[in-house]
């Protein structure tokens, strides 16, 4: 295994994004964030991106967006301020500076959050639950609809993998399964339950088969017997 590029990657990922990288460059070069030397910082930024590319680090597209922004600002800085004297020309760097300041604030805020007493890191609640419970059938329930949606989504996610392929291939109805069983049992006279299932069966096949068998039992069209606990279940045509 070649692990070297991986190591670099880990180091470079300390930058959470282009703004983080820019802040780092400003800090490292002791620049004034309110008066960013755009040419200089653009050069530094692009050098960094180049380095990451050399190291085969996959760059988030946002890094390139900010690179383009920097180049654009650099270009606008070159337009002489006297072009339209009556209009107040806005500093092209302003929006970027504001974004950087804003981002800096939240980086600080994240640090402050991190200094709070965090549950399960600095402080722990009671681990065990009391078992004194009143039988409670009241409607005194705290809930919101999004919790419901999230619960439903997690069901869908869980349901994914297993079945969908099978589902579309063999969506056999209970009625169909009843017909199958009757056909086979009328020929064989007796049959073991398990053999009613297709070779590769899903939970749905089991459910449908059981439903079909139960229905046939209810209609007294078959008889069912189990000779020993956990033994095979035999289905018969009633005499």
């Amino acid at each position: 295994m070649i692990s070297e590029p991986q190591d670099y990657r880990v180091k470079l990922e300390i930058f959470e994004g282009p703004l983080d990288l820019l802040l780092f460059l400003i800090k490292r070069n002791e620049l004034d964030i309110y008066d960013i030397p755009v040419s200089f910082i653009t050069e530094q930024y692009l050098t960094y991106l180049g380095m990451m590319q050399v190291l085969n680090v996959e760059l988030a597209s946002e890094f390139l967006v900010i690179a383009a922004t920097l180049l654009e600002i650099k270009a606008r800085m070159l337009i002489p301020a006297s072009a339209e004297p009556e209009e107040e020309i806005e500093d092209p760097r302003l929006e970027l500076t504001n974004r950087l300041l804003e981002y800096q604030r939240f980086k600080n805020a994240a640090g402050q959050l991190n200094n709070l007493n965090m549950l399960y890191r600095d402080t722990f609640p009671k681990g065990m639950q009391e078992s004194i419970e009143a039988e409670d059938t009241s409607l005194n329930i705290e809930a919101d609809a999004y919790e419901l949606l999230v619960a439903f989504k997690s069901i869908l996610d869980r349901a994914k993998g297993e079945k969908i392929a099978y589902m579309t291939v063999e969506r056999i109805s209970v009625a169909q399964r009843i017909n199958d069983i009757m056909e086979r049992i009328s020929i064989a006279k007796s049959i073991v339950f398990d053999t009613l299932l297709p070779e590769e069966y899903t939970k749905m096949d089991i459910v449908i088969t059981i439903l079909a068998v139960l229905e046939l039992l209810r209609l007294r069209m078959i008889r069912c017997e189990q000779k020993e606990p956990f033994g095979n279940i035999w289905l018969y045509v009633p005499e």
Binding site: G127, E130, A134, S138, N140, A145, L149, F152, K203
Partner: protein
């Protein structure tokens, strides 16, 4: 280390432990400390006596598997009162089952069991008791199984104007980075019934 500090450590260990805490685990954790003449069982007794004598509502008890804090039995009535006063949260299985009923009603128990992959009898009973779901009829299937749906109370608890106000899956699309997957799968809740309830 002073005895008080040692006792406080034991106290927090038992408090934070999810199960009654065995003496041997306490000994393992504290093996880095030189206890001198003291022993863990001895310290436990001191801690226990402190809680017992005090005006505290809590006691330290030794149960079969270890040590744990419990409320003193004479306060049980108050705790029962609390359980009726305070709104409770639905358990995860209850929420899950309720979600299936809400989004796929009318639905049979077999279908719910199938989707959840476990028996849902107990949970369905709880939801019926809490009047969040109700029996809305029988399905035209062999055995004429009961089908369930949500109630008026359900709408009230979840602050929904009507059932159409349920948030839909598109709403959480942006929650996940794998957005396309969701879109593809959202109609595909596999149900055992031959006639999947494809309302919407």
């Amino acid at each position: 280390m002073e005895t008080e500090k040692l006792i406080a450590i034991i106290e927090t260990l038992i408090f934070a432990s999810e199960k009654p805490l065995k003496v041997k685990y306490i000994e393992q954790v504290m093996s880095v400390i030189d206890l001198g003449e003291l022993t863990i069982p001895g310290l436990l007794e001191t801690l226990k006596a402190g809680y017992a004598s005090e005006e505290s509502g809590i006691e330290l008890v030794e149960v079969a598997e270890g040590w744990q804090f419990r409320t003193k039995p004479q306060f049980a009535e108050w705790i029962k009162r609390l359980n009726t006063v305070r709104p409770s949260k639905l358990s995860a299985p209850a929420m899950e089952t309720l979600a299936i009923v809400a989004y796929r009603q009318p639905i049979t128990r077999a279908e719910i069991d199938y989707v959840r992959g476990v028996d849902s009898g107990g949970v369905i009973k709880t939801l019926l008791d809490k009047r969040l779901i109700k029996i809305i009829g029988k399905k035209e299937l062999p055995g004429r199984p009961l089908v369930y749906g949500t109630t008026q109370e359900f709408l009230e608890v979840f602050s929904l104007k009507d059932i159409s106000a349920l948030p839909n899956l598109q709403d959480i699309k942006q929650m996940s980075s794998a957005e396309e997957e969701l879109e593809r799968n959202q109609t595909e809740l596999p149900l055992p019934a031959s006639e999947p309830t494809d309302e919407e």
